[in-house]
């Protein structure tokens, strides 16, 4: 039973990280109908930036709390900047091009960013500094759930609530929903669609960066290639939940995380990535609109 609960908790942790990345996919898809292949790379850049900042600060002897805050903020700022720039360079000029063009451009951007980090930094796996301390109250249940799991679950919950608030109640959130429903109409009622698109990329990238920071400190190491697999899995989660739907992305991510956790725990860990891909193919065959997506997709 303990093993089951342990797998369940690690599945939830996994799933909530996927959710942070999947939200970026789903929001961008909802607004401009593009699969942003470079999103996984934005997540990787977030993890790398926080790694660099955290290591530099710890070498210069800053206290742990300051390191966590500064690394998190830096990761979010730079990831957002990358997300914004990628949109401006690779997607904006192609907004009226044939469907294939932005997709190819996105693939190119993903390859470009991956190799940029490889060349600017290194191809080795790097040890990520320990940012999350072992809490004493976790000790009695430490064999089931670690303190980093708890931090990840709490952080993602807070971030999700903040995002829901932003989309439901703020001006920019309203503008985003309007643009997703009908871009031309949104333009007509005076919404600056370009700015809304930029804002979507910035918010999605910041979420991915937080995900990157959390997973890197949870696993304890990073590498330039982590974005590729994480990106595909988060996309799978977004499709599973119904692409374009925000609650769908969260639900899909949790299901994917749990599936992976149980499958690797009870079946075999060799095929960890195969489960996610097979799940993706199965959803697309039997329910391409996803769990919460509607046929006449109402997007957020």
């Amino acid at each position: 039973m303990d093993y089951f609960i342990e797998l369940f908790c690690s599945g939830l942790t996994r799933g909530s990280i996927y959710a942070l990345i999947a939200l970026g996919y789903t929001m961008v898809y909802g607004i401009i109908g593009l699969i942003n292949f470079a999103h996984g790379e934005i997540y990787m850049i977030g993890a790398f930036t926080s790694f660099i900042v955290a290591t530099v600060l710890s070498i210069y002897g800053f206290p742990l709390a300051a390191i966590v805050v500064v690394a998190g903020v830096a990761a979010a700022i730079w990831s957002s900047a990358y997300g914004y720039t990628v949109e401006k360079i690779a997607y904006k000029p192609l907004r009226h091009a044939p469907r294939l063009a932005p997709l190819i451009s996105a693939i190119g951007m993903s390859i470009l960013l991956q190799n940029y980090v490889l060349l600017a930094q290194t191809s080795d796996f790097l040890p990520f500094p320990e940012l999350i301390p072992e809490f004493s109250f976790v000790e009695p249940i430490a064999h089931i759930i670690g303190s980093s799991d708890i931090v990840i679950l709490l952080t993602t919950t807070v971030v999700m609530l903040a995002l829901t608030f932003l989309i439901k109640f703020t001006r920019i959130g309203k503008a985003m929903r309007a643009t997703a429903q009908d871009r031309t109409m949104a333009l007509l009622v005076g919404i600056n669609v370009d700015r809304v698109i930029s804002a979507t990329f910035i918010i999605g990238s910041a979420l991915a960066a937080i995900g990157g920071l959390l997973i890197a400190s949870h696993i304890g190491q990073i590498n330039f290639a982590i974005g590729f697999i994480a990106g595909i899995k988060a996309f799978t989660a977004a499709v599973l939940g119904g692409i374009g739907s925000i609650p769908g992305a969260v639900l899909g991510s949790l299901i994917l995380g749990l599936t992976e956790s149980f499958a690797t725990g009870y079946i075999s860990s060799d095929y960890e990535d195969v489960f996610a891909f097979s799940l993706l193919v199965l959803i697309l065959i039997f329910k391409p609109s996803g769990l919460l997506g509607k046929a006449e997709t109402k997007k957020v």
Partner: protein, 411 residues
């Protein structure tokens, strides 16, 4: 002309990039020795590089706009020189004969090593032409093309290992197996929107690779299968050099067949259905084209060629392992098609020669190979989506005197 305003804007852009690349380009930490190195010189490179690129991009767009303004009428387009040569049968045929002669003489003029590199380039040309059917002509973005290549390579390796089948027997089997996989994968997915196809083929490519890597009993895992025999020629004994040259001629032969088939396909009923499907699916269905079937044929035909080349790859290197079939391989083939010009046969040939031979001869730059491939995909889409040699669609022009009424109707 470059104005002061444009220079100012480019300066701002380059400043933004200095900020953007600051943590990754300037700082490098060594977490083991706990040292930080500040590479300020990179910052200067980034600043100068982005400044120049921005100015060039602006100049390019200005020129393009001017040209567009000058030629409104698509019938009187002034085609680039290559296109004009290609459109005149006399020039085109003599060029083709010359190129064929050069290709046939190549192994005798240069060393076997050079011929070997050329064989690789020829393989990529055929792969590019195969993917061109799928991406360029039919407009289906296949990101797992390498999976079919792997199917071909492993079918030769395994059939040879277990049943002792020869190269010539497996060549068609490998192609057909890959085509079968294409049908199996394409059937559920091709009914969906194009983007899903891209990501599912990407996932499929990874699944195939992971299975080959982990299923030791079936594929011998990451260590791969070695000692695969080279193709035979009526039981003739060949030295290594002769075998390489034989391989080269074999590829030339396959390339000619491929060019012939692809060329004929494009003008067939099926080829026109692909083009039409790429342009407008709904109109196509209204015209009575079976969407799924037409797409499926394109998909499996592309896979068939990948399977053929897979068999040849296994025979050429005499060794296969899963590491040869990563996503990056698919990305290279896609770059070839995009750089050359989607749908254009001459373009794909040129694209493959550039992308395979350049890194081979400029070893110093090979580190930046993948970076360049990514950049090519983005840059081509932004600056020249039709590729180096565009595929000129057949069109009819009215060459008589323009009547005033017709002009008025146009406006």
């Amino acid at each position: 002309m470059i104005t002061v305003k444009e220079v100012k804007r480019s300066l701002l852009v380059s400043l933004w990039f200095v900020f953007l690349t600051f943590p990754l380009m300037v700082i490098k930490v060594n977490p083991y020795e706990r040292t930080v190195s500040w590479r300020w010189r990179n910052m200067v490179y980034v600043a100068i590089g982005t400044f120049v690129i921005t100015l060039l991009a602006k100049a390019w767009f200005a020129r393009k706009e001017k040209r567009m303004a000058r030629q409104q009428d698509s019938c009187h387009l002034r085609l680039p020189i290559i296109q004009r040569i290609l459109q005149k049968p006399g020039y085109r045929n003599s060029l083709a004969v010359f190129l064929l002669g050069a290709a046939l003489a190549f192994p005798h003029l240069f060393s076997t090593y050079q011929a070997n590199i050329m064989t690789t380039a020829l393989m990529y040309i055929v792969l590019g032409l195969g993917l061109n059917i799928v991406v360029g002509v039919a407009g289906l973005l296949d990101l797992g093309y390498v999976a079919f290549y792997a199917v071909g390579a492993y079918s030769y390796a395994l059939l040879n290992l277990h049943f002792d089948l020869g190269f010539w027997t497996v060549l068609p089997i490998g192609g057909l197996l890959a085509a079968l996989f294409g049908v199996l994968l394409g059937f559920p997915v091709l009914r969906l929107r194009g983007d899903y196809l891209a990501i599912v083929t990407l996932g499929f490519g990874e699944i195939i690779r992971l299975i080959l890597e982990n299923w030791n009993a079936f594929s011998k895992g990451p260590s791969g299968i070695s000692n695969i025999p080279r193709p035979g020629f009526f039981g003739l004994e060949m030295s290594l050099d002769q075998a390489m040259i034989y391989m080269y001629y074999l590829m030339i032969g396959l390339l000619l067949v491929t060019i012939f088939v692809v060329n004929r396909l494009q003008d067939s009923r099926l080829g026109r259905a692909w083009l039409a499907l790429r342009e407008d699916e709904i109109a196509c269905q209204a015209m009575g084209i079976d969407k799924t079937r037409t797409k499926l044929i394109a998909f499996s035909l592309g896979a068939f060629w990948a399977g053929l080349i897979g068999v040849i790859f296994a025979a050429k290197t005499t060794f296969v392992n899963p590491a040869s079939f990563t996503f990056m391989e698919s990305a290279i083939i896609l770059s070839i098609v995009v750089l050359g010009g989607m749908g254009s046969i001459v373009g794909v040939i040129l694209g493959a020669l550039i992308l395979v031979l350049l890194p081979e001869y400029l070893r110093a730059l090979s580190e930046y190979r993948m970076l360049a491939f990514g950049a090519i995909l983005v840059a081509m889409m932004i600056f020249k989506p039709e590729g180096l040699i565009a595929n000129v669609r057949r069109s009819y022009c009215y060459h008589g005197k323009k009547s005033n009424t017709a002009l008025k109707n146009d406006e």
